[in-house]
Amino acid sequence: MPKVSFIDKFGAESQVDCEIGATLMTSAKRAGIKGIEAECGGTLSCATCHVYIENADEKIAPASSSEDEMLEAVAAERKPVSRLACQIPITDGVDGIVVRIPETQF
């Protein structure tokens, strides 16, 4: 199982084993990671699963135009490394990525 590190807004880090085929959002929710709200359940309606992925490199496909449009509406600062966790499928490639959770989702 790929391992992903989540760092919350206070700097606390959690390692999560993620199932292939899930998304980064559902993996975080299942693991009880706080701060990824995902109110819409992954239907690209809310932009409340905003995260910063600083070492994505080639591991994750770039954001689609729909995701890019939703990222315009995130509550915390949008950065070049901003992504929506619901749009990132878990593959072997995501092993080792570090996901920072923003200050707020609303």
Binding site: G41, S45, A47, A73
Partner: protein, 446 residues
């Protein structure tokens, strides 16, 4: 075919099917309150058809479509089976798309997020994490068999959770296994649709439809008339165009319950000595009829009909005409006093949230229908929303909810502000206020 293409096709079909006879306009209770009483019905309908065709329509047609409160009197008035309520919803959508341009996505996100934030705050001020988890999932099944029922709650029922607690307990006592689908992550797409974002609305609604279908229950029932209407008017017809071989239907909870009255009646073990008027909403007349039949079957309950005008799918739809809404509410309250009822029973959650604060102000109590059904079965759930509503100051609220505020890590002042905004029903369901200042509801024919 994608969702927005299916929508366009349906708008074209409706535009072609409507004969513009104007009968739907003539029976609409919103015509007077928004100042359209002197308009030519045929011309207004001509404007509606233009809107469906992607054109501007007329000022009158735009206003009429925007003012629809979902009463549904137009449906039986139409001789051509067009379903004018659906037609107006689509015409209003077409106008919003035209007017909002590239802002539709941002507006849709803001509308959805506002709903989700209000819901999460109001429900967390009433329920612990464990209680919320129980209501979001009815629990594991005893076997791997599909549950007898999948109950689609919609979103905002969780703001008055005592109703849902009672629904689940009644189902349990009927030995009906149940799976729940609901909350913002199972949205019907209404917020996105109203803001003109058909693509997001379709994504949300179809995702929810599939979640309900995946439960594989024989019976698929829904609580919320707003979600039911969104499914019937938009999501299911579009789904049928995208996947023509499928058959998906939702039945409203009380209609389902009334069909099982034989099973229910033996559970009514405790007489309930109440003289009850029902807070009727005309949007789904079968629901009103079912509620009255169920209540009439409870030993001790006497159902009283009030001869008052009935408007709107739920009370919150009337926020487009606040004076008319107040008039309707006061008329119903005074009729209830005159009829000497002990109880005014709300059916739907949004109506309950809006009028429950008047409990005890008049000579009758205001409770939900499920509380009466529950009482006859010996089941009770506290109406915490009502308790929150009568707390008038931040200090009172903080004291009452302090444990839950701490458990959920809520910001107390932010939570209070959200609750007050929600309770004041500041957000009109259909958009801005459209009321005609010169309209006198006391002389309306409806």
């Amino acid at each position: 075919m994608d969702f927005t293409e299916a929508l366009k096709l349906r708008m074209d079909e409706m535009a072609a099917a409507c004969t513009q006879c104007g009968k739907c306009f003539e029976v609409c209770p919103m015509v007077g309150p928004v100042g359209l009483a002197n308009e030519d019905p045929r011309l207004v309908l001509a404007g509606i058809v233009e809107q469906l065709q992607g054109k501007e329509g007329s000022e009158s047609s735009q206003k009429w479509a925007a003012a629809c409160t979902g009463s549904g009197y137009c449906i039986s008035a139409c001789d051509y089976a067009v379903n004018p309520r659906s037609m107006l919803k689509l015409a209003n959508y077409a106008r919003v798309v035209r007017e909002s341009g590239d802002q539709v996505r941002k507006n849709a996100i803001a509308a959805f997020r506002g709903m989700a934030q209000s819901l999460r705050t109001v429900s967390r001020l009433q329920l612990s994490s464990a209680q919320l988890a129980e209501l979001e999932d009815a629990g594991p099944l005893a076997s791997n068999k599909p549950a007898d029922i999948t109950l689609y709650t919609g979103c905002n029922l969780y703001k008055s959770p005592h109703i849902l607690v009672l629904v689940l307990e009644v189902l349990r006592r009927m030995n009906a296994t149940c799976r729940l689908v609901g909350g913002p992550s199972a949205c019907c797409g209404i917020n996105q649709f109203r803001t003109g974002d058909g693509e997001s609305s379709g994504r949300a609604g179809l995702s929810t439809l599939k979640k309900i279908a995946e439960q594989d229950s024989v019976e698929k029932i829904s609580w919320c008339p707003s979600c039911q209407s969104q499914f019937e008017d938009v999501i299911i017809p579009n789904f049928n165009k995208i996947e023509p071989q499928t058959d998906f239907q939702l039945e409203m909870f009380f209609v389902w319950l009334e069909r099982r009255l034989d099973q229910l009646i033996p559970l009514f073990k405790h007489p309930v000595q109440k003289r009850v008027a029902v807070n009727e909403r005309p949007g789904y007349p079968l629901v009103v009829a079912a509620v009255k039949k169920i209540l009439s079957s409870i030993p001790g309950v006497e159902v009283v009909d009030l001869d008052v005008p009935r408007v709107g799918l739920m009370s919150n739809y009337l926020t487009v005409t606040p004076n008319f809404k107040t008039y309707l509410r006061d008329t119903e309250f005074h009729a209830a006093v005159e009829a000497n009822v002990t109880t005014l029973a709300t059916i739907f959650h949004a109506c309950h949230r809006e009028i429950c604060e008047f409990d005890g102000v008049y000579s009758f109590e205001i409770i939900n229908v499920m509380e009466i059904i529950g009482e006859s079965m010996g089941v009770h759930a506290d109406d915490i929303y009502k308790l929150l509503k009568v707390h008038n100051s931040a200090e009172e609220l903080l004291e009452y909810c302090s444990d839950l505020i701490a458990e959920h890590g809520l910001n107390a002042s932010e939570a209070f502000a959200i609750l007050i905004k929600e309770q004041a029903a500041e957000k009109p369901m259909q958009g801005k206020i459209l009321e005609d200042a010169s309209f006198n509801p006391a002389v309306t024919e409806h």
